[in-house]
Symmetry: C2
Subunit: 107 residues, 2 copies
Amino acid sequence: MFLKNVARGARFNPARMGKTTIAQGEFLFAGLNSFEPGQEHASHAHEGQDKLYIILEGEGLVAIGSQEERLTPGDVAFAPSGVLHSIRNPGPQRLIVMAILAPPPRQ
Amino acid sequence: MFLKNVARGARFNPARMGKTTIAQGEFLFAGLNSFEPGQEHASHAHEGQDKLYIILEGEGLVAIGSQEERLTPGDVAFAPSGVLHSIRNPGPQRLIVMAILAPPPRQ
């Protein structure tokens, strides 16, 4: 399966972080998380699941455990199983992030 | 774990595709595959492992099963478990691809 210009598939939601599916495998899930300025995905952890973030557009304040970084396109963050993580769009641009989870979330 | 400008970590090898590790989790592995013009990763399949490719720099000829596409930065390819896939740099630029495997390859 091929997806050209994957960020084009971003869907924003005025009420909360928008979600789009890129790839749904047996062992790996990839999707887009799309944030209007000020929106965030609050701190949470996944026991038994690793998560990789890749910033595609905009700027994100990403926290992994006790560390926080301001990330821009081409930057990556990794939250291993069980580690608290969060992401917030400080604005003023929209933020598009690819999120890859293994194993995939339960349907 | 944060990695700024992840493509900067690419390592090229005149003899074959270069490999760099980005993240090594229990459930997910992310690395860079780096190709000089003309280099390729020949057709192969992983039984029981999904692979996602994200093109970071350059241009790649990617085959998944019987389909082939010319991919550029921002494009994605997904090879589910058991499906043949290959990637080649037609040149003239260097090609850098992020490869994400779940579960991780055995050490």
